[in-house]
Amino acid sequence: MEVDDHVVIVGASHAAVQLMISIRQQGWLGAITVISDELHMPYQRPPLSKAYLDGSVEEGRLALRAPEMYEKLDVVFKLGHTVVAIDAGTNQVTLDTGEQIGFTKLALCTGARVRQLDLPGAELGGVHYLRTMDDVKAIRHSAKKASRAVIIGGGYIGLETAASLTKLGIKVTVLETESRLLKRVASEQVSEFYKHLHEEEGVEIRLGSKVVALQGDGHVKSVICDDDTHSDADMVIIGVGVIPNTELASEAGLVVENGIVVDEFAQTSHPNIVAAGDCTFHPNSLLKKSLRLESVPNASEQAKAAAASLCGIKKAYSELPWFWSDQFDVKLQIAGISQGYTGAVVRGDADESRSFTVFYIKDQHIIAADCINRPKDFMVAKKLILQQSTIDIAVLVDESIDIKTLIN
């Protein structure tokens, strides 16, 4: 590593921040330039749909790190700029201004963007997506004047947004095309639980509801579904998933699948380019497959591997994925990936309480757990998933036995 080295980081979110810290810790002497199309210094994304939206956390508390830390790291931020091209042959990036910046190493922390719905009326005032701090500022602004909100999409972002807006005193309707909430990611028990939770808190949940148009006069007034029902709305939030930002990488000739393809060292198909975070399609030796994740822990931990690669050190990234979601007084912690489970068992009372865990079983092993207000179960579940031993289901669901006893 030399002082005239220069790493350019595209993106300025969780992965980018961890990467810049880790390369300095590992002795990177050269310049670090961060280019982001957002105007804000790096901020935490998870609270956006939760505590920042409901007003319990203000903007100043969202900063990922104190400004002085970036000074200590000697990082140059170019905010409000978009990288429009990467020339992997001459090691240069081109910005929207036409400026060209040379690099010795490049880190793609480009993240993901919201999937947009091509709906008539989507351009009306009061219609929002939720991904960035500016998105949430706009939602908060709309919420000041709104009494009814419609949320399109019953996934985690949609449900967290529903909970936050309900706390603000807004009457919320959630429209979901599938037959249950969270269908792609959770068991029926968990879907049912969240439906009841939201209904108990005053949210209207409408399943099997496909939105066909938004109507209004300059500002949205109602949402129309394919069964011709109309839902009144002063504001609409669309939360139907994200798309990884891979275009720069593919145009530069890097291998891209469902994300920028990297190896366990966060190395792309180009020797001078690494990638980390939501934008990557990466192997996970614990899960024995490649996948793309939308998660802060993934972004941070993969960024450490990327930083090591930039410094010539091999540090394989392979962590058990985990996630969390806050809605009303319910804290959900998810360990592992439940996809492919053959059975689901419940520890605790899923029908009458707000505290239970669903364990996802495959081949008599626990592969994932959704822990609802059960922090200890979550900690144990992570260990049980990793130990990959045959599990005694009778003990797992017996609350009279301390779950810790299942750990080898």
């Binding site: 830390m69 802060v296 922090p375 200890k376 979550f378």
Partner: protein, 106 residues
């Protein structure tokens, strides 16, 4: 700003000023002190910001809340004064407080 001392498992010490209202976790992150991972950023959901408060400061740092206590029950190397550092908010009374960081978080 109260000065807090962080001591890594190998004895390396850091003396840093942390603003009142910030957490012990934030103080570590903003000063690039290894040993506080803080995967969740301070929401009390990941249990990777475990620290041990020096016993003489334990009362001032306070007791863990219920969910924090449940997580701590499962943490590696737990001690009587273990806390999740994201849940310990810095106050003026913490001037000179000493916290130790577990080896498991390196």
């Amino acid at each position: 700003m109260p000065a807090i001392t962080y001591i890594e498992f190998d004895g390396t010490g850091y003396h840093v000023d942390v603003a009142v209202g910030n957490s012990v976790m934030e103080g570590a992150l903003n000063n690039m002190i290894d040993g506080i991972v803080a995967e969740c950023g301070g929401c009390c959901v990941c249990c990777t910001c475990h620290c041990m408060i020096d016993p003489e400061w334990a009362e001032i740092a306070g007791e863990p809340g219920q969910e924090e206590a449940e997580m701590l029950e499962m943490v590696e190397g737990r001690q009587q004064t273990s806390r999740l550092s994201c849940q310990v908010q810095i106050t003026e009374a913490m001037e000179g407080m000493v916290v130790r960081l577990p080896e498991s978080q390196y």
